[in-house]
Each structure stands twice: as C-alpha cells, then as structure tokens.
C-alpha cells in the first residue's frame, strides 16, 4: 500500500488525539464502524454557546487512511458551526488526502462520524 505524504504525516503525527467528557452537555460524541470491519472511529466535538465547534478530539482503530481521515476532520471542524460541519463531504477528505480507491471507505466513515457527533450533540439540546 503506497500512501500519500499527507496520510503518512497525519498517521505519524495525528492531530487532536484524545477524549472529551461524553456526559458534558456541550459535547457531542459519534462512534461509527465496527471492529469486525477493521475500522472504528470515535469523534467528539465541543460546541460553544454561540454554536461554534471550539474543540474536536478523535480516537480511531483502523488503517493509516482511517487514522489520517479522522485526524484531518478534527482540524477542519474547529471554528465551524454545526451546519457547516455537516457539509463536509467524504469526497473532500479523499481528495485532500489523495486516498487510493480501496481506501475511500475511510473517508466515508469520517463523514459518518461527523454526522453522528452532530446528531448526538443535537439530541442533548
């Protein structure tokens, strides 16, 4: 598997690894994928009173592309409002990371993780 330099950079220096308190009302948590499928992403967003994502954290079990995809979206999410966050498309992630065709599902999973985190936050409000 030959990866782009961007994937290798995110893989070797993942951004925003960690966890936020899932019981905090200002935090939305999304967990997608399944271990048997080889990928699980947990994405968390912390949303300010004015509706802006002020922090994002992730943990990912998966291949280098899955780790890079989730690392990348945590960077993109910060500073966006929820509607803008939901506009992030898997194709943008795949393009940015130059994912090979067999790894497109990693970007799909990252998009799903954003939607799940936003939905979880909204369910609390």
């Amino acid at each position: 598997m030959s990866y782009s330099n961007k994937v290798i950079d995110h893989y070797e220096h993942p951004r925003n690894v960690g966890a936020l308190n899932k019981d905090d009302p200002s935090v939305g948590t999304g967990m997608v994928g399944a271990p048997a499928c080889g990928d699980v992403m947990k994405l968390q967003i912390k949303v300010s009173d004015s509706g802006i994502i002020e922090d994002a954290k992730f943990k990912t079990y998966g291949c280098g592309s899955a780790i890079a995809s989730s690392s990348l979206v945590t960077e993109w999410l910060k500073g966006k409002n929820l509607d803008e966050a939901q506009m992030i498309k898997n194709s943008q992630i795949a393009e940015e990371l130059e994912l090979p065709p067999v790894k497109i599902h990693c970007s799909v999973l990252a998009e799903d993780a954003i939607k799940a985190a936003v939905a979880n936050y909204r369910s609390k409000h």
Binding site: Y11, A36, G38, K42, Y61, C63, I67
Partner: protein, 413 residues
C-alpha cells in the same frame, strides 16, 4: 556493532542465500555451463556429476536414497506432482483425499483442482493450538481414501504435526501419505528411514538455498507410483521432464548439507532468541500467541495484538520486515485463513504478526524488535477507541456495533 534497518524477520517467506551456498553455485553460472543431460562430452559429464552429488546431499540430509529424490522447480511443483501424480495413478483404488484447512495454498489449491476433476476432498479443522487430533483424522478416513497430505511445519504459526503418528495410521490403512516439508529443513532433525512417509516435498529457498528449485521424495520401498505432470524429454526418470538448472541444484544440495550439519548448534541459539522475543513482548498487555508453543519450531513466533488494527501496526513497525495475518497485506483481502481455522476471530487475525528468525538473526535485532513493538503498540492503543473501551471495562465483543444501514436509520429519525 551498528544495526542495519530494516531488520529481516520474514524467513518463513524466504531466506537469505548462505554465502557458502553461493560459492558452490558460482562456477555453474560461469565455466561449468554444460547440460547435465549431454552424454557425449565432458561439459555434460561435469554438470551431471554435480547434479548427482547434490542429489546425494539432499538424500542424506533427509535419510533417503538418492534414487528417491526428483528435482523440481520448488515445493509448489513438488506438491502438485505428488498430489496430482498419486491421485491420478491410484484413482482406481478410490477417489477420496484428506488434508488440513491450515495447509499451504500449494496443497489447498491443488486439492481444489482435483475436486474439479472428480475427486472428493475432506478438509479437516485442526485444534485451536493448530495441531491435528489423530482420532478426528482416523474418523475422516473412508474405504475409498487413497491419500492424506499434511504439512510438517506450518508456515504461519510454526507448529509441528506428529508426522510419525499420522504416517503409522496411513500405513495401517494402506493410504499414501504426502508431507509438505518446505518449512521443516534445518528446523527438525528427521530421517525418512524411520518416518512412515511416502512422498515429501522440499524447497531450497526456505533453508538458505536459491529460489526456483525444490525436490520431491518418492519412496521406493514400498514403491510409490506417480503419473508425470510435465512431459518432454524424460528427465528425472520420466517423473519430471525439463533441463536441470545445475547451479540451483548445486545450491540446494549444499544448503541441505549445511542444514543437516549445523542444526544441532543452530536450534538452541535460535530458540534462545525466539524466547527473548516472546519474553520481551509479554510485557505488553492483551497479546495472544497463535499456535502451540511446545510443538513448534524455534524459528517462529506468531502473536496477535488485541485492540490494534493490523495494517496500521505494519505501518508503525516498518523498521522490521515481518508478515501479517491482516487482510491488507495479502492479495485476497481476507484475514489469515490459518488463524481463522484455529478459531481466532477476525480482529485477532487482522492484528497478528509473524516473526520468523534465521541463522543470521542477531541478539541486537531481537532487542530492537522488542523495543519497537512495545513503543508502537502503546502508541496505537493511545489512538484506539477499542482500547479505551477495554480499559473502561466495556466488553468490546458484546457491544452493539451499528452497521451502516442501521446507523442511517437512527440518524434520520
């Protein structure tokens, strides 16, 4: 001494050619180029002598007579010739064959091909330690069973099957017994004088010889018959036609002789290195050794690292050259069928690493490998939501994972 990276720990895939082997081969790539089948001049006489000397070397390394050794292009061809050759010769006796699910693809794919031509094959499941339960094998035998094929040493998990017991059972039932010994040379000291085996397949490049050459042992007493699979010229007494590659054969002979001579001093050294590796990895939580540790060659260690995904683990440890049971490293996109057959779940099969050591592996290389694995597994687990769940006391296997379709429904509610 400075360490050279990457460190090669994939010796079950292939080994580095031993310099002593290469020295013997070189003249046959330059001055001694004659065709060993040329009977009319000294060029042919010289290379024929070299080929027959190598045949003696291979035969004596495995306790056989040189007339029982047939040169082939490698273990895959030997296995094809043994299985197809014996099955087609003896098909009037019966058309049932038995093998094990954890065999090499050279055996499994050949069996599939024989099924296509009208044979019936039973694929036995080994026990969770990778070994065969002899009573299960015995009960799989039918009146029309003509051949059983079992590998001596498994290429992925290194376990050693009880060839003597299986062979005795075959003798008792008058069934032909083929053994794939590609991974056994230099690792197990055995003699075909004592082992009740009818056909045995060998490879040169798994024991510091060149690629592209192998041999098939065909027992003479009691005599085993085969139908040739490659025709043209009647070389190798008609069993396998084709001009003999003198340089490779000479290399195989030397490699087998060295394997036999050095085995007693090599095994304890390699075992010590393997045990250091295992001890060093055991400081990592949630690791699982795949395959029996007692009935196992010292060259092999196969370990699954729970809660770490296989491909990212391979990426993280690129300073060492190893194999993985992960789908991502294979052409088939399936996790290791060997680990699945011994009952490992997909996750553990995906996160398995096979370390295979050689006579060239050093203590420093093993120390480096232990440090690397400890560091990188810890790093990947810091990244892993499954590890976090495990640490929080949540049972990952009974957690309700939402599949794609279900999740969409939940989101749109």
């Amino acid at each position: 001494m400075s360490l050279k990276l990457p460190i090669y720990l994939d010796n079950s895939a292939t080994t580095k050619i031993d310099p002593r082997v290469l020295d013997k081969m070189m003249p046959f790539l330059t001055e001694e180029f004659g065709n060993p089948a040329s009977r009319s001049h000294s060029f042919g006489w010289t290379t024929d002598k070299a080929v027959e000397h190598a045949r003696e070397q291979v035969a004596s390394a495995v306790g056989a007579d040189s007339k029982e050794i047939i040169w082939t292009s490698g273990a895959t061809e030997s296995i094809n010739l043994a299985l197809k050759g014996a099955a087609s010769f003896y098909q009037d006796r019966g058309r049932h064959l038995i093998t094990i699910k954890t065999e090499h693809k050279a055996t499994l794919d050949t069996m599939r091909e024989l099924e296509r031509t009208g044979f019936e094959v039973t694929y036995l499941t080994p026990e969770t330690n990778g070994l065969i339960d002899l009573s299960k094998l015995a009960s799989a035998i039918r009146v029309d069973t003509i051949l059983i094929s079992v590998m001596y040493v498994n290429n992925e998990i290194g376990v050693i099957q009880d060839i003597e017991a299986i062979g005795s059972l075959c003798r008792e039932k008058n069934i032909i017994f083929h053994v794939d010994a590609a991974q056994a040379i230099g690792k197990i000291d055995f003699s075909l004088e004592k082992l009740p085996v009818d056909l045995m397949s060998f490879s040169a490049h798994k024991c510091y010889g060149p690629k592209g050459v192998g041999a098939l042992y065909v027992r003479r007493r009691p005599r085993i018959r085969l139908l040739a699979q490659i025709h043209g010229g009647g070389h190798e007494r008609g069993f396998r036609s084709g001009t003999l590659p003198t340089h490779q054969i000479v290399g195989m002979g030397e490699a087998f002789e060295i394997a036999k001579t050095d085995i007693s001093k090599e095994l304890p050294r390699i075992k010590k290195l393997r045990d250091n590796l295992l001890t060093g990895l055991q400081s990592i939580e949630e690791i699982y050794v795949n395959g029996d540790m007692k009935h196992r060659v010292p060259h092999n260690l196969n370990v699954s690292f729970n809660y770490v995904e296989g491909e990212s683990l391979i990426m993280a440890i690129k300073d060492i050259a190893v194999s993985s049971g992960s789908a991502c490293t294979s052409a088939s996109l399936e996790p290791s069928y060997v680990l699945r057959a011994i009952g490992r779940n997909d996750e553990l099969a995906h996160s398995s690493i096979r370390f295979s050591l050689s006579r060239f592996t050093t203590e420093e290389e093993i120390e480096y490998t232990v440090r690397l694995l400890n560091d990188k597994v810890a790093k990947l687990r810091d990244l892993s939501p499954l590890w976090e769940m495990f640490k929080d006391g949540i049972d990952v296997s009974s957690y309700e994972w939402q599949e794609h379709g279900e999740r969409d429904i939940i989101l749109h509610n």
